[in-house]
Subunit: 224 residues, 2 copies
């Protein structure tokens, strides 16, 4: 019983430690979004958190572990968003947005998730992992929390994709995995940055444009 009480109510020291580590992952997340894993230095992280570099290494054993913790946290946020979307009554999903006005519940969830991704990116909060093969990939693949989150996210999205295809709202000629990858790719779509840099459009307009190209493509659609 004492053991249970101990594990339910965290000691003060543990709370402090977790708060500190949470502050670290938040900084890492921001830096990963801003410059990517390779360009981010451990010195920068330490400076931004306001502690010495050696102290960072007491919390995380390597730069990869540091980035991995941030990625796990980001993945958890994504999963939370999807779970909440999954539990909502389908009709209530983003009804305020005219772009989401499709009669297909599954498609509406997929679009809501894509909008969320783009918004996060425009806010500078979407960590960007190296597209090329890197030491970080191996660390992520070996991380249970990360892989568990990734699998759960993929499962949820996969279900919605198959459902939307069954209902005839997503092109069934595309393998579900290709649709999944295409949606994931919005998280690192350079079009968002390019349009943002051009300063010709608001964030909202940029999202609408990328949503349009993602779901409707470049072609004009005279019949719809």
């Amino acid at each position: 019983m004492a053991v249970h009480a101990e594990s339910l109510k965290k000691p003060f020291k543990v709370q402090m430690l977790e708060a500190r580590e949470s502050a670290i992952t938040a900084s890492v997340n921001r830096l990963l979004a801003e410059k990517g894993f390779d360009a981010m230095t451990v010195d920068e992280v330490a400076a931004e958190v306001g502690i010495a570099k050696a102290s960072l290494y007491k919390h995380f054993s390597s730069k990869e572990a540091l980035a991995c913790a941030a990625m796990v946290q980001a993945m958890q946020k994504a999963q939370d968003f999807l779970e909440q979307l999954n539990e909502q009554p389908p009709e209530s999903v983003a009804a305020e947005n005219k772009q989401l006005q499709t009669p297909c519940h599954a498609l509406r969830k997929l679009m809501a998730m894509t909008r969320w991704t783009l918004q996060l990116k425009l806010n500078g909060q979407m960590p960007s992992l190296p597209s090329q093969n890197s030491s970080l990939r191996a660390t992520l693949m070996a991380s249970r929390p990360y892989m568990d989150g990734l699998m759960r996210v993929s499962d949820l999205l996969g279900e919605w994709i198959v459902q939307a295809q069954k209902e005839g709202f997503i092109n069934s000629a595309l393998p579900a995995i290709a649709v999944l990858y295409t949606l994931y790719a919005r998280a690192c779509d350079p079009v968002v940055e390019f349009l943002k840099m051009s300063e010709l459009h608001t964030d909202s307009e940029i999202i609408d444009m990328v949503m349009a190209t993602c779901f409707s493509g470049l072609n004009a659609r005279p019949y719809q």
Copy 2:
């Protein structure tokens, strides 16, 4: 007159030098495609070309200059392809391919160019510059040959985009610049790598899928 003759027929030594430098840029191009600018080391380049690192630096003053030369060559190849596409009678553009069967000449050229890009990528010949801000960006921006090529390519594509929009084959609600960026983004689309890694599809199938999502989007199109 002697000057003209000199400049028309290149001396043997110059030919050798250009051949050597061409071999270098080819290696750099391949390495840029394989691992990107940051992960590519000058030692690797020297090893692959088969000369000493110090010799490389006699040809190119820095790693950035090295990559820049490769990018200029790649851009030149793209421009050559587009110019040739531009001079062809419109009817002859990739008539053999069923995916290019649109009555709009401009759209057909855009699609041919996109296919070409994806094919180059699948061949491991599409150099990938760092999406983030890097020292390479500055070098490229300061390079006349690169920027001239980029502008010419953008002009040609821009004309076709506007034309296809005028004829009602590309969504006119999208600014031409957004369409241009979306096409450029195919050169670094991670969906291609992901699908390739999954080993579930042939290169040809991958191209067809990415072409479909690019031009028609994910949505089913029951009316078309």
